[in-house]
Symmetry: C2
Subunit: 415 residues, 2 copies
C-alpha cells in the first residue's frame, strides 16, 4: 500500500503535465474511459457484489444499500456521464480578460487547473467516475477517498480509468484512490497541504462537519441544505401550493428540498389547511409553531431543533410570521445558505427577498429544487457550494479551475 505522501507527490508531479494536455487529447481519453467502463460492466458488477455482500457488516440502511448497488443500467449511465463530460467545453486556457497597463505590460488572466484536488465521499460509486472525470477534464490530478462500504467497487472503477490512461501512454497517477480505510489516513489526507490544493467533501452533514473542522487544506463546503419557502401574504394560492409541494415531495432526500415553510399570517388560514391536505396524502409529517397549529390538524409542536434541522425526510417544519421582515430574519438565522424561495405577487417583496436573503440561490416564484448544475445549464456538477469563498452554488467545470496572470513585457522595470 502506498503512503499518502507518495500519492501526493505523484499527483503533484502529474498535475503539471495534465495542465498542458490539449482538449482533443483529454476528450479522446475520456471517450476511451467511457468505452472501457462499459466493456468491463461484468467485472464492475462482480466487485460491487462483494461490497453488497459485506454491507451488513457495516450495518448500512436500505437507502444506503440502494445507493451502493450498481446494475448494468447504472454502469451504462456512468459511462454516459463520462461521455457527457467529454462533450463539454474545456475552460482551461481561456483568457477571461487582457489589458495593457500603465507601464505598457500586456496582462492577461488565464484559466488554469487548480492542481491536485482531493475528494472525500460516501457510498455512491458513481461519484468515483463523476469526480475523477470532471477533474481530468479540467486538467487536475485527483486523489479520491471513498467510503469503505464501496471499496471494491471504487477500486475496480479507478483501476479501469487508470488502465485507460496507461494503455494510451499517460500516467495513471492522474486519478488515484486511497485504499486504506482508516480514520488516521483520512485525517492525514485532510492536512496534506504540501500536495493538495483543495479538498471537496461530498456527503452528509456529519462528513462535511468533520472535514471542515479537521482540514488545514482549503475546503469547499458542499451540500447541506436547510432550505426555506416563504409564502408571502400576496402569494397566488395555487402557485404557493404547487411550489411547496414540489420542493418538499418531489425528492425529499436531496439537499435542495425544502425543510421549513414560512407563511405570512394573512394567507395562513387559507393556505395551511390546503397544503396540509396535499402533504399528508404524501405521508409528510408536519411540525408547526403555535400560530401554525391553529390551522393544522395533524401537526405537532415544532421545537428549536426543528428550525435547525435538515431533515432530508418526509417532514416539514412550518412557521407563521407577521411580516416579510420577520420571514427574512428567520431564514437568514436558520438557513445553511443553500436555497431559499419566496412566493409572491408583490414586486417590492420579490426584490427585497432577492436582496436580503443570504443564500447561494434565492428564488422568486420557483421551487428550490432547481439548484443543480445541470438545471442551471453548466452540463456538470461536482457539488453545491454553501460557502462564499471561491465558488457558491452549483459547481461546474469553471469552479474546478484557478487563474494565473500572464504578463508580456519588452524589458520593463519598476520605477
Amino acid at each position: 500500500m502506498q503512503t499518502l505522501i507518495e500519492l501526493g507527490k505523484q499527483a503533484k508531479e502529474v498535475s503539471l503535465q495534465l495542465a498542458l494536455l490539449d482538449t482533443t487529447t483529454k476528450n479522446h481519453l475520456l471517450e476511451q474511459m467511457a468505452n472501457d467502463l462499459e466493456a468491463q460492466t461484468d467485472a464492475i458488477l462482480v466487485a460491487n457484489q462483494k461490497d453488497l455482500d459485506r454491507a451488513p457488516e457495516f450495518g448500512i440502511s436500505e437507502t444506503m444499500l440502494d445507493r451502493l448497488r450498481l446494475t448494468k443500467e447504472r454502469v451504462f449511465e456512468m459511462a454516459q456521464g463520462v461521455r457527457q463530460v467529454a462533450s463539454l467545453p474545456d475552460p482551461i486556457g481561456e483568457v477571461d480578460k487582457m489589458w495593457k497597463n500603465q507601464d505598457g505590460l500586456m496582462i492577461g488572466q488565464q484559466r488554469v487547473p487548480l492542481g491536485v484536488i482531493g475528494i472525500i465521499y460516501e457510498s455512491r460509486p458513481n461519484v468515483t467516475t463523476d469526480a475523477a472525470t470532471l477533474c481530468f477534464k479540467t486538467g487536475n490530478a485527483v486523489i479520491l477517498r471513498g467510503g469503505k462500504e464501496a471499496s471494491h467497487s471504487n477500486q475496480k472503477l479507478v483501476a479501469i480509468l487508470q488502465n485507460t490512461l496507461a494503455a494510451n501512454g499517460y500516467s495513471p497517477h492522474a486519478i488515484q484512490l486511497i485504499t486504506d480505510p482508516s480514520y488516521e489516513v483520512a485525517n492525514e489526507f485532510m492536512r496534506l497541504n504540501e500536495y493538495l490544493d483543495v479538498l471537496i467533501p461530498r456527503g452528509g452533514a456529519g462528513l462535511i462537519q468533520r472535514v471542515k473542522t479537521s482540514a488545514t487544506v482549503p475546503v469547499i463546503e458542499t451540500g447541506t441544505g436547510n432550505n426555506h419557502v416563504y409564502i408571502d401574504a400576496e402569494a397566488d394560492l395555487q402557485m404557493a401550493l404547487d411550489i411547496t409541494f414540489n420542493a418538499k415531495v418531489q425528492r425529499p432526500s436531496v439537499c435542495n428540498a425544502v425543510e421549513t415553510l414560512v407563511v405570512h399570517e394573512r394567507i395562513a388560514p387559507n393556505f395551511l389547511p390546503a397544503i396540509e391536505k396535499l402533504l399528508t396524502e404524501q405521508k409528510i409529517a408536519l411540525r408547526g409553531d403555535e400560530q401554525a397549529l391553529k390551522y393544522l390538524t395533524t401537526a405537532t409542536l415544532a421545537t428549536q431543533e426543528d428550525w435547525e434541522t435538515e431533515y432530508l425526510d418526509l417532514i416539514l417544519a412550518i412557521k407563521v410570521v407577521s411580516s416579510i421582515e420577520e420571514a427574512i430574519q428567520h431564514i437568514n438565522h436558520y438557513n445553511t445558505s443553500h436555497s431559499d424561495a419566496i412566493v409572491t405577487n408583490n414586486y417590492f417583496h420579490s426584490q427585497k427577498f432577492l436582496n436580503e436573503v443570504d443564500s447561494a440561490a434565492v428564488y422568486v416564484n420557483a421551487s428550490t429544487r432547481f439548484t443543480d448544475g445541470f438545471v442551471f445549464g453548466f452540463g456538470a456538477e461536482i457539488g453545491i457550494s454553501t460557502q462564499k469563498l471561491h465558488a457558491r452554488g452549483p459547481m461546474g467545470l469553471n469552479e474546478l479551475t484557478s487563474t494565473k496572470y500572464i504578463v508580456y513585457g519588452n524589458g520593463q522595470v519598476r520605477k
Copy 2:
C-alpha cells in the same frame, strides 16, 4: 473587554445591513473617515508615540520600528488612501451574467459581499485603515487583529473610523478590533467559523504559516514570494542585467523581489560577471551553485536552504542550468507560486515559460516587481494571494466579494 463571540455576532448582524448600503452612502462615509483621520492627526501621533516608546520592550528591529512609526505625512497618506478607496467603482450588485435556462427561469449571478472578513496582521498601522476601508467599500464587516506592538495606534485609528460611522447614524460594528493581544484569542479567532467567512493574514512567512496550520476558517494565503528570474541562453544581455538588477535591488524587502536567479549555461560566462559587478556595488551578497561559482568572484557556495529561502534581504542565490526545462523544473519545485520571470528573445521559450511555470504571475521580459494591485490597475490591494482557491495574485475589490444566484421564476416546479 468584549469576547470574540460578541464581536463575531455583532459583525455578522451588521454585515447583513452593510450588504444593502448603496454606493453613494458608502463613498460618503469613506470621505468622512478620511477627513476625520486627517482632523485627528495629532491624537493619532500621540497614540503612535506610546507604541514607539514601548517598542524596545518587544525588542523589535530598526526596520520594524520604521514600519510602525507614523508621521503627519504618513497620516495624510492614510487619509488619501481612504479617499482613493472611495473613488473606486463598487463591484457589489453587479450581475456578471444572466441567462434563461431550459425551464424558463432567469438566472443571474450577482456579486455580493463575502460577509465578515478577519484580518490578522503585523506592525504597520496603515494596514488598519487600508483593510478596514477596502472591506467597508465592498459591504463586508471586518474584524481586525493587529500586532501588539501597534496596539495604541490601531485602537486610535479604529476608534476614529467607528466614530465616523456612529456620528452618521451607522453601526460601529462594521469595523472592529480585537484588543486582547494573547495567542489564545488569536487561535480562537482562527477557528471562529460560525461568524467569520474568511481570514486574510498579512505579514511575514511565520505569521502566514501559523494561520495556515491553525485556522479552520477559510484562509486566503498571501505574500510569501520566493521568486525567480530565469536568464535564457538567447536573452538580450542588457535587458537581463536591467531586469535582474531591478527585481533584486529596487526594494529587496518586499514579496515581489527576486530571490533566486536561474541562468542558462551558455549565457553565464558573459552575464554572471556583469551582474556580479552591478549587484556587489549595491552590497548584494551572492550564493551560487558550483557552476555559477566558476564565473563569480565574491559568491559563496549555495546550499539546499538557499533555494528554499525568501531572503527579503540583500542576498541573491544563483543557479546555472543547461536547459529551459531544467530551469522550469527548478522554479516549480522551489517557488512559492508568487512571481517568476523569463528574459528571452526566443518566442517558443517565452510561451513555454508562460504555460509551464505554476505561479500567480508569470512574466516575459519584465521585472517581478510589477506584481501589485495598483500596478495591475485594480486601484487597490488587500494582499497578493499565493493560493489557487478564490483569488490568485494581487487582490483588489473584486476579490473581497462572493456571488449569489438570483432566480426569477413564474411558478416553475421541477419535473
